[in-house]
Symmetry: C2
Subunit: 419 residues, 2 copies
Amino acid sequence: MKVSQLFTKTTKNPPAHETARNAQLLIQAGFIHKEMAGVYAFLPLGLKVIEKIKTIVREEMNAVGGQELIMTNLQPREKWEVTTRWNDDVVDVWFKTKLKDETEIGLAWSHEEPIIEMMKPFISSYKDLPVNVYQFQTKLRNELRSKSGIMRGREFLMKDMYTAAIDAEQHDKLYNEIMDAYTRVFARLGLGDDTYVTFASGGSFTKFSHEFQTVCETGEDTIYLHKKKNIAINEEVLDDESLQKLGISRDELEEVKSSEVGNIFNFGTEKSEQMDFTFTNENGEKQFIHLGSYGIGISRVMGVIAEKFADEKGLIWPANIAPATVYLARLSEDSTVVKTTDKLYDDMRKRGIDVLYDDRDVRAGQKFADADLMGIPYRVVVSEKTCQSGQHELKGRTESESQMLDNDGILEYLAPIGS
Amino acid sequence: MKVSQLFTKTTKNPPAHETARNAQLLIQAGFIHKEMAGVYAFLPLGLKVIEKIKTIVREEMNAVGGQELIMTNLQPREKWEVTTRWNDDVVDVWFKTKLKDETEIGLAWSHEEPIIEMMKPFISSYKDLPVNVYQFQTKLRNELRSKSGIMRGREFLMKDMYTAAIDAEQHDKLYNEIMDAYTRVFARLGLGDDTYVTFASGGSFTKFSHEFQTVCETGEDTIYLHKKKNIAINEEVLDDESLQKLGISRDELEEVKSSEVGNIFNFGTEKSEQMDFTFTNENGEKQFIHLGSYGIGISRVMGVIAEKFADEKGLIWPANIAPATVYLARLSEDSTVVKTTDKLYDDMRKRGIDVLYDDRDVRAGQKFADADLMGIPYRVVVSEKTCQSGQHELKGRTESESQMLDNDGILEYLAPIGS
């Protein structure tokens, strides 16, 4: 895409109304737009990042047999009353509204109950199990405060997966496969080294649930790292019993701030008992179904990456989720330079290189500043000088040194990095 | 995908709670799930249709310079008060809810006002125009009744595009390009022959707006066709003045039921005057921006196609939006038949043919009935007999005669039809 055609613009200064660094940078770079506190629209460059994150997550969820579907925002009261979760004292983040006939309905803050109700007509026998479904869906949560930008919104995008299994064994197999898929997701998102499987409160059925927590100074959670074992404990379960269970001692732990980018929850048969979700086993007996739920905060992950990797110049995206792989900056309106850069742009696109072409007639400093602020992984500069030498300048976003390469060299370098 | 792995199942009889034919069939075939009246989840096969429709629409919107983004469901009151449209007497389909501090907020039934507010910081000069943005977004509308399945939901998916232009001339150019893009969309969706550009009420700025109406017995609109001129008039503007303006006489018109699958609206400067949306022209003078809005009801289109093309056996999808191009039915558990069909399945996938492989151990009649109910464009049958002859049976969904082809012949036939 050409920058001259992009309708968004960067701004030099952060917006006055934002305190969260991720939102400040993403607004400055033209990636998001604030509708109200905790509610953000995703503009073209921001939507590209979201879609690339979704693609990675989708590939890994499909690889473990997930079937994609999409549930609804509007929720009937009855489905949630069965589990007492319609009650605002039990769930304090409901947005509720009314039909014309005054029937109260809810706006989905989660989809656990509706997913189970949806599955019921399709599952009757052990032969119908296991089932593994997921969606990318907007969640609406009436948070009291919302000051963390897209790291904790009132409206946000989540990938939520649900499994139904005949017993604990079948459940555990799915659970472990999905744990592995999550590990692959965070590695591909560039968060692998700083994301820890974290033991957190497990509800009534199981001692622990597993959270995926990414170390992040501005995160809202506090976790205790055991770097040697590559695990962490959420402060909510940090007690002697838990430490003993995990075979670690308190003085081996390091306290850090973090953000919960994913979680995995084993319901056992608790929810299926509440909702009467059963199957018939091989002996013709009715049994309750083992359920699991598995979330990844898609827009939160984007916020964490924005916040975590940024430097004083702006955003820094890992190459596989950047809105473009390369920022092609043309520093002159001279016809030879224009022709050369146009050709390089076309060649890049032919090679499948995702390129943002700054064809504007503005000064070089602004082009460099925009490339840095937007966090595009590579920058290629074409000027009168580089056209004379036949070698243009290529520089990584976080590198201080650039290298000079001819057209073919640039294409060879960038093509494997991705589209 | 293999049918044995698909968690949804077909049902023989239509659901008792549905009167709309599209919803009956889509529920029977396992494409959608009803959450409540006018609110439907899209299950894997249904989501595939939605995504294929979106892909066609996205390609055509990008081709006319549209930049994709995504706005929000939650809406602050202030943005809508400016145009009086927060008022429930002006807009009677609002769902409204409240933040914890009792601030009333709305749920987006449209995105016109927020899109304009979002654009403001990016547009100041004539050099910033024109702008053309669009999104695929869920709309929530508090309809009094909702009995038309996914043809008119309380929650539905829409593609909405918005243009901003310096003057009527620049606006008209965009408007006509988008009109042409819409015509291409409906042609590609298989609705070209039955979709009419329809003159409807234009609001205060312009005499007419343009609707795209698809002839459909169960549609909620009534239009008057002029087949020779390939246009139609909505009953709301069918008066002598309109007829004269369009140069047609009343007795040339044919009354039909239809469904509004798209609309195109010229706001002129009415909305930008209300919302103070201006740019500075070449002479340094402030001027109001010309705005247009352009909708396509994505889930409605799916409903219209479901309803319109169905026969007594079930759904009939045009090949380019079908959840699969071919239904591969294996009629035996014999090892040769299994091996042959497995290989054909792999070969189809290698050739990029989107295939649904019925590998279940159920009787042939059920496989044929499911293939027909789901509306898959082609069916290939592999049995002991066809394995002996080396030629399998290929039949189009609406054809009565089948043809016998060997593996290569089947692949050659289906590969160009698409993935």
